[in-house]
C-alpha cells in the first residue's frame, strides 16, 4: 500500500485529507509540524507528502528544503497545500521543493487525481 504523509498543524485538515486518502486505499501518516514530519519521514520514508505552509516550529518551506537535502527523502514527491492563492505562493512552493501546489480547501476528486498521477495506487 502506498503511504502518504500529511503535514498540517490543523487536526481538521489532517482528518479531511486523511479520510480522502484512506478511503481511496492509501496508508496515511500524519504530522503536525515540520519538525515532527521530518523526524517521521527520516525514520520511515513515505511515497508522497501533502505539506501545509504555515506551521509552528518549522514551516512547510523549511521542511521541504530539509527533505530535499537528505539522501533518503529527496525523491519523495510533495504537494504543497495552502490557503494562499497568489501565483507567487505557488512559485515559492516550487522554489522550495514542491512538485505541485493546491489551494485549500481541496476538492477530493482533484486531490485524488493528483495523488494517483504522482504515485499511482
Amino acid at each position: 500500500m502506498k503511504k502518504v504523509m500529511i503535514v498540517d498543524d490543523a487536526a481538521t485538515v489532517r482528518m479531511y485529507h486523511g479520510d480522502i486518502l484512506r478511503q481511496a486505499g492509501y496508508d496515511v501518516v500524519e504530522a503536525f509540524n515540520g519538525v515532527e514530519a521530518l523526524e517521521k519521514v527520516l525514520a520511515n520514508p513515505v511515497d508522497l507528502m501533502l505539506v501545509d505552509v504555515n506551521m509552528p516550529l518549522m514551516d512547510g518551506y523549511s521542511f521541504l528544503r530539509e527533505v530535499r537535502m537528505h539522501n533518503d527523502t529527496m525523491h519523495i514527491p510533495a504537494i504543497m497545500i495552502s490557503t494562499e492563492s497568489e501565483q507567487s505562493d505557488r512559485e515559492k512552493a516550487y522554489l522550495n521543493g514542491a512538485n505541485d501546489y493546491m489551494i485549500k480547501p481541496v476538492r477530493p476528486d482533484v486531490l485524488l487525481e493528483k495523488v494517483r498521477l504522482m504515485i499511482g495506487g
Binding site: 498540517d8 498543524d9 490543523a10 487536526a11 481538521t12 485538515v13 482528518m15 479531511y16 479520510d19 503536525f32 509540524n33 501545509d52 504555515n54 509552528p56 516550529l57 518549522m58 514551516d59 518551506y61 523549511s62 521541504l64 528544503r65 527533505v67 530535499r68 537535502m69 537528505h70 527523502t73 529527496m74 525523491h75 519523495i76 514527491p77 510533495a78 490557503t83 492563492s85 501565483q87 507567487s88 505557488r90 512559485e91 515559492k92 516550487y94 522554489l95 522550495n96 521543493g97 514542491a98 512538485n99 505541485d100 501546489y101 489551494i103 485549500k104 480547501p105 476538492r107 476528486d109 482533484v110 487525481e113 493528483k114 494517483r116 498521477l117 504522482m118 504515485i119 499511482g120
Partner: protein, 1017 residues
C-alpha cells in the same frame, strides 16, 4: 455527527481560546512578536479549516481578522485596546457559531448578515488604520478591492463546487415517478424551472412502522420549504380484507418544491433513507396525461409538425397544433401533449426544438416523452476541463444554438490567444469569463456553466488563462465536429479525459525545474523528486519504454548540475503525449506552455528574493515537546464509565445482604463466609476503580479561572474601575461535574464583587486606599473539600444597610432585623430577590444572582461562608466536595422511612430532654455548647405524620451547619454512615428543594438525601 465536523468543533474551540488568551496577553505587552505570531497562526489555521465546511460567514470573519493580524505582524498597524476589543468580539462571534454548529450542524440563518457586518467592521478598521499609518488611503483602497475580488472568487468557486456536487449524479436520469405527481403541480414545476429556479422532486416512502415511531410523514412533507404541491399513492396494492393492517403506513408521498436542496435535505435528515431527492431537468416535468386514442388522423399532422420543427417555423407549428387540437378529444393524451407543446413554444421558444420533437413523438406514440434520449449516458467527469457531460450537452444543441455558441467561443478564444501584459491578464480573464458565462446561461446549460465558472475561478487565481483556452478549444471542437469525439473507443476516451491532468502535472514539473536556483543545496532533491513523479506518470500511461530515457536524462543532469536534459525530455514527452489524442487539445496545450513559461520567468526573479526573506524565524512559541501523554476521550464515554462504576458499587453492596440471607434464610454459613471474603476483594477493586475514574474526571480549577482575566477586564473597563486580578491555586483539582456546575456561580460572584464590592478609583483614593483594587481568586484543597475564596478589598457589606433593605423589601420584619447579628445580616444577601444596589445595572444587581449561587452550591453538597468588614473588603469562601460521585451520608429515620443527610454538614448527634428545649420568639431552640441553636422538627417540615419513636420523651437531634450557622434537626433515630452514589432527581422531582438527590442502597431500595439548605424553618 460527522466526525470531521466534530473534530473541527474541538479544534476551533482550542484555537479560539488560544487566540483570545493571546490577545489578552498582547494588551499588556503589545510588542511581543511571538504573541502576535501565535494569535495570527491560530486565526490562519482556523481559516484553513473553515473552508472545509459550509460556513462562509465564519470564513469571512476569520479571514478579516487574520488580515488585521497580518498587518500587525508587518508593523503596518498597531495594537490598542480598541483593536483587541474588536478582535475579541470577532472571535466571540465565531465561538457562537461553533456552538451553533455543534447544536444544529449548521449556522443559523442570521449568520450571513452578522458575518457580513462583522467582517465589514474589521475591514473598515484595517482600512482606516492603514490610512492613518500610511498617510493616505489609496493603498488601503486597492487592497480592499483585491479582497473583494478574492471573496467573489471564493464564493463563485464554492457555488461552482456545490453545483458540481449536485450534478455529480448523472445529469438527466430517469425519474419514473415524476408522472405520479399531479399534472398541475408538474406544470407549476416546469414554470419555476423555465424561470431559472431549481425545482426539487421529492419521493418519500415512509416505513410501515413509522407511526409507532411518532413520525408524521404528511406533516413532514407539508413543512418542505417552497412546496409547490404534493401527491400520494399506495405503496403496495392492498386488498381490503382481514390482512390489511391499518396501523401500518402503506403510502408513498411525492412533493415538488423550490426550496434549497440543502434545506430540504436537512428537513428530511431523520428519514433520509426513505427519501429520494431529485433535481429533474426542466423538460422532464413535461409529461402528457389522459386517455390514449389511436387516432390515425394525427399521422399527417405529425409530419407537418416535423417539418415545422426542422425549419424552426414556430408560427407554422402553432397553427398545426391548433388544427390538431380540434381533431383530438379534449381529455386525451394527445390533447395534453399538444398543450405542452404550446407551452414550450411560448416559454422556451425555438431554443428548445429538441423538446418539441420529443413531445411530438410522445403525442404520437402515447408513450411518456423519452427525455433521456436527449442525452447520451455518460458518467460525468469531475476534472475542471470540459468533461464528457459537457461535450454531450454541447452536441445536443440545435444547429442554430450551436452556431451562435461557436461564434462567441471562437472570438473569445482568439482574444485569449493574443499576447498580453501580465498586469492586464486578470481583467481579460474576468471579462471573457463573463461573456461565456452569459451565453451559457442564456442557453440554460447548467452543467457547462458550472464547469466554466470553476475554470474561470481557477484561471483568476492562477492569473493564467491556459485552462480557459483549453476548455474553449475543446468546446469549439465539440461544437464543430461532433462526431470526432463520440466515435472514439471507450479506452481512448478515458485517456483523453486524463490527458489534461497528465499534461498539467508534467508541465508543473517543468516549471519546478525552471525555477531559478537560489541555492544548490536542494538541487539534487528537486531533481530526484521530479524523477519520481515522471516515473509514476510514465508507468501510469504504460510508457515503460520511456523510463530509460528519463533515467539517462536525470543522471546526466545530476552530473552536470543542470536541468537542461530533463527539460528536453519533458518537452519531448509533452509532444508525444499530444499525438494519440489527435486534434483535440493540441493548440490548447501549446498555448498553456507559452503562458506559463512567460509567467514562470517573470515571477521567478521576484520570488527568489522573497524566499530568502522567509527565514526559519517563524519558530513557534507553544506546543513544546515535554507534555505529559494525554488522550482526548469523548465526554460521554467517561460519564458512562462513571455511571457503570456507580452501578457496580451498588451491586457490590448487595453482597453482604446476600451473605446474610445465605446464613439466616438458607442456613449455609459456609457460603456466607465465602461471600463475605469475596466481597472484600470486590470492594477493594471497586474502590480502586472509583478512585481512578474520579481522578480521570478531575479537572484543574483553572478551567473556571481562565475565563476571569477576560471577564474582569471587560467588566472593569465598562465600569471604569481599576482592578488587579490575582489567581492562586489554579492547579487545584476537583471533579468535572463540580467544576462545570461552579462556573456560572463563580461568574456571578466575581461580577458582584466588581460591581458592588470594589469602589471606583476616585472613591478608593478618597478612602485612603490604593487606586487599583485587588480581586483575589484562590483555590486549595482541604480534606475532602475544595475551597474557593473570592476576596476583594472593596467597601465590604454593610450589615445595617442590608438589614434596612431587607426590611424594606419585606424579607424580614423589623423585629427580626433587630434580633439579627451583623454576621447573620450579611447572609441576607443570599435571600431571593435581594439587591442592595438601588440601580439595576446590566452586570449584576437584578436580585437574582446570589440566591441562585447559594442554592447551586448547596445542591452539589457544598457550603458557603461570607466574611465582610465595612471599608476593608469581603471574602466569600466556598467549600465544595472534591467529587460529586461518591457522597458520605448519614442515615436517619423518620416515620419508618430512611433518609440521608450529607455527612459533611453533620456537626454532632445528640439527645435532648424536653426541659432543654426553650421557646424563644415562637421558635423552639436549645443551647448547644453555649450557643443558641434553633430546632427544626423534620417530620413537620416534611409534612410527615407527627409522632415520636422514642417513649422516654427525649428527642434525637442532628446538629448540622446551615448558612454559616447551626441548626438542630429533630429526627426519629440515627443510623450508620454510608457511602452512596448520589444522583440528582430528574424531571418534575428536580424542583423539590428539600431533596439533594437519591441513592440506591445495597438491598435495592432507594434512599432520598435531604438538602438541608432547602428546608423551610
Amino acid at each position: 455527527m460527522n466526525p470531521l465536523l466534530q473534530q473541527f468543533i474541538t479544534e476551533a474551540r482550542d484555537l479560539l481560546e488560544e487566540a483570545a488568551n493571546g490577545l489578552l496577553a498582547l494588551e499588556s505587552s503589545p510588542n511581543d512578536v511571538d504573541g502576535v505570531n501565535a494569535v495570527f497562526r491560530a486565526a490562519h489555521t482556523l481559516k484553513g479549516s473553515t473552508g472545509l465546511f459550509d460556513v462562509l460567514p465564519m470564513t469571512h470573519v476569520v479571514h478579516a481578522a487574520e488580515d488585521i493580524l497580518d498587518a500587525v505582524k508587518a508593523n503596518q498597524v498597531h495594537i490598542d485596546s480598541n483593536l483587541i476589543d474588536l478582535l475579541l468580539d470577532a472571535f466571540d462571534q465565531v465561538g457562537i457559531w461553533v456552538d451553533e454548529l455543534e447544536a444544529a450542524e449548521r449556522l443559523s440563518s442570521s449568520a450571513g448578515s452578522i458575518g457580513a457586518d462583522m467582517s465589514a467592521k474589521l475591514r473598515h478598521w484595517l482600512a482606516a488604520a492603514r490610512g492613518e499609518a500610511s498617510g493616505g488611503d489609496a493603498n488601503a483602497h486597492g487592497h480592499q478591492n483585491v479582497e473583494l475580488l478574492e471573496q467573489a472568487i471564493t464564493q463563485s468557486e464554492m457555488r461552482a463546487d456545490n453545483q458540481q456536487m449536485v450534478d455529480m449524479a448523472p445529469a438527466r436520469k430517469a425519474i419514473d415517478w415524476l408522472s405520479d405527481i399531479p399534472p398541475q403541480v408538474r406544470l407549476a414545476a416546469y414554470e419555476q424551472g423555465i424561470a431559472g429556479h431549481k425545482v426539487v422532486a421529492i419521493a418519500y416512502t415512509p416505513e410501515p412502522e413509522c407511526y409507532f415511531k411518532g413520525e408524521d410523514p404528511l406533516g413532514l412533507m407539508l413543512q418542505t420549504p417552497g412546496l409547490l404541491g404534493i401527491a400520494t399513492r399506495l405503496a403496495h396494492k392492498v386488498k381490503v380484507d382481514a390482512e390489511l393492517d391499518v396501523y401500518q403506513a402503506n403510502i408513498q408521498l411525492f412533493g415538488v418544491a423550490t426550496g434549497e436542496l440543502g434545506d430540504i435535505e436537512y428537513l428530511y435528515r431523520y428519514v433520509s433513507d426513505q427519501v429520494l431527492l431529485e433535481l429533474p431537468e426542466v423538460e422532464q416535468w413535461l409529461i402528457p396525461y389522459g386517455q390514449q386514442d389511436d387516432d390515425t388522423i394525427l399521422a399527417d399532422i405529425a409530419e407537418q409538425m416535423d417539418s415545422c420543427i426542422q425549419r424552426q417555423d414556430m408560427d407554422g407549428l402553432v397553427a398545426s397544433i391548433s388544427v390538431a387540437k380540434d381533431i383530438v378529444r379534449a381529455d386525451s393524451w394527445a390533447a395534453n401533449a399538444l398543450s405542452l407543446m404550446s407551452l414550450v413554444v411560448n416559454t422556451a421558444g425555438n431554443h428548445k426544438l429538441a423538446w418539441l420533437k420529443c413531445l411530438k413523438e410522445s403525442m404520437f406514440s402515447g408513450q411518456k416523452p423519452d427525455w433521456l434520449s436527449l442525452q447520451t449516458h455518460v458518467k460525468p467527469e469531475v476534472s475542471l476541463s470540459l468533461d464528457k457531460t459537457g461535450i454531450a450537452e454541447l452536441q445536443l444543441l440545435d444547429h442554430v444554438d450551436r452556431e451562435a455558441l461557436s461564434l462567441v467561443i471562437g472570438l473569445q478564444t482568439k482574444i485569449l490567444r493574443l499576447p498580453i501584459a501580465h498586469e492586464l491578464m486578470l481583467g481579460r480573464i474576468a471579462s471573457i469569463g463573463k461573456v461565456i458565462e452569459n451565453v451559457l446561461h442564456r442557453f440554460n446549460h447548467d452543467v457547462l456553466l458550472t464547469q466554466w465558472l470553476a475554470v474561470v475561478s481557477k484561471a483568476k487565481i492562477a492569473n493564467n488563462s491556459a485552462g480557459m483556452l483549453a476548455w474553449l478549444e475543446q468546446s469549439n471542437l465539440a461544437l464543430t465536429e461532433p462526431s470526432s469525439l463520440s466515435n472514439l473507443p471507450v479506452a481512448q476516451e478515458i485517456q483523453l479525459i486524463k490527458h489534461d491532468a497528465v499534461l498539467e502535472l508534467v508541465d508543473v514539473q517543468r516549471q519546478v525545474l525552471m525555477q531559478s536556483q537560489p541555492d544548490e543545496a536542494i538541487f539534487l532533491g528537486r531533481l530526484t523528486s521530479v524523477k519520481t513523479v515522471l516515473t509514476s506518470v510514465l508507468t501510469l500511461l504504460g510508457r515503460l519504454d520511456l523510463l530509460l530515457g528519463l533515467n539517462a536524462a536525470i543522471e546526466t543532469d545530476i552530473l552536470s548540475v543542470s536541468v537542461s536534459e530533463t527539460l528536453g525530455f519533458i518537452a519531448q514527452m509533452s509532444l508525444e503525449r499530444r499525438e494519440p489524442s489527435g486534434a483535440s487539445a493540441k493548440s490548447a496545450s501549446t498555448g498553456k506552455s507559452h503562458t506559463s513559461a512567460a509567467n514562470g520567468s517573470a515571477i521567478a526573479a521576484a520570488s527568489s528574493g522573497e524566499a530568502n526573506a522567509n527565514p526559519e524565524a517563524a519558530a513557534a512559541t507553544h506546543e513544546s515537546g515535554g507534555m505529559a501523554k494525554t488522550l482526548r476521550v469523548e465526554q460521554a464515554s467517561v460519564d458512562k464509565l462513571g455511571d457503570l462504576i456507580g452501578e457496580l458499587v451498588v451491586a457490590k453492596n448487595a453482597m453482604p445482604y446476600l451473605a446474610q440471607r445465605a446464613e439466616h434464610d438458607f442456613g449455609v454459613p459456609e457460603l456466607a463466609k465465602l461471600l463475605k471474603e469475596q466481597f472484600n476483594v470486590v470492594d477493594r477493586l471497586t474502590q480502586e476503580l472509583q478512585g481512578t475514574i474520579m481522578r480521570v474526571q478531575m479537572l484543574p480549577v483553572s478551567q473556571i479561572f481562565q475565563r476571569f482575566p477576560r471577564l474582569v477586564r471587560d467588566i472593569s473597563r465598562k465600569l471604569g474601575k481599576k482592578v488587579n486580578l490575582v489567581l492562586e491555586g489554579e492547579e487545584t483539582r476537583a471533579d468535572k461535574s463540580v467544576i462545570e456546575v461552579m462556573a456560572d456561580p463563580m461568574i456571578h460572584m466575581v461580577r458582584n464583587s466588581l460591581d458592588h464590592g470594589l469602589e471606583s478609583p476616585e472613591e478608593r483614593l478618597a478612602a485612603g486606599k490604593a487606586e487599583t483594587g485587588t480581586l483575589r481568586l484562590k483555590a486549595f484543597q482541604e480534606g475532602d473539600s475544595v475551597i474557593i475564596e473570592i476576596q476583594d478589598d472593596g467597601r465590604g457589606v454593610n450589615p445595617v444597610m442590608v438589614k434596612n433593605k431587607a426590611v424594606e423589601k419585606g424579607i424580614i420584619t423589623q423585629e427580626q432585623a433587630d434580633a439579627m447579628s451583623a454576621q447573620e445580616a450579611i447572609y441576607l444577601i443570599f435571600q431571593p430577590s435581594f439587591s442592595t444596589n438601588d440601580e439595576v445595572t446590566d452586570l449584576s444587581g437584578r436580585g437574582v444572582g446570589m440566591d441562585v449561587v447559594r442554592s447551586t452550591i448547596e445542591r452539589i453538597g457544598g457550603s458557603l461562608r461570607v466574611h465582610s468588614e465595612v471599608g476593608k473588603g469581603t471574602i466569600i469562601r466556598l467549600s465544595l466536595p472534591l467529587s460529586m460521585a461518591v457522597s458520605h451520608v448519614m442515615e436517619i429515620e423518620l416515620a419508618d422511612q430512611v433518609f440521608g443527610v450529607p455527612m459533611d454538614l453533620v456537626v454532632e448527634t445528640t439527645r435532648l430532654t424536653p426541659d432543654l428545649i426553650k421557646t424563644i420568639k415562637q421558635r423552639e431552640t436549645f443551647i448547644w455548647r453555649s450557643r443558641l441553636v434553633p430546632l427544626l422538627r423534620l417530620r413537620r417540615a416534611m409534612y410527615l405524620p407527627s409522632g415520636s419513636k422514642r417513649n422516654d420523651g427525649t428527642e434525637s437531634v442532628l446538629v448540622v451547619r446551615r448558612d454559616g450557622g447551626l441548626i438542630g434537626l429533630v429526627v426519629d433515630d440515627f443510623r450508620s454512615k454510608l457511602e452512596v452514589i448520589m444522583k440528582p432527581l430528574e424531571g418534575p422531582l428536580s424542583g423539590i428543594p428539600i431533596y439533594a438527590g437519591s441513592a440506591l442502597l445495597g438491598d435495592g431500595s432507594v434512599m432520598l438525601v435531604l438538602n438541608v439548605g432547602g428546608l423551610t424553618l
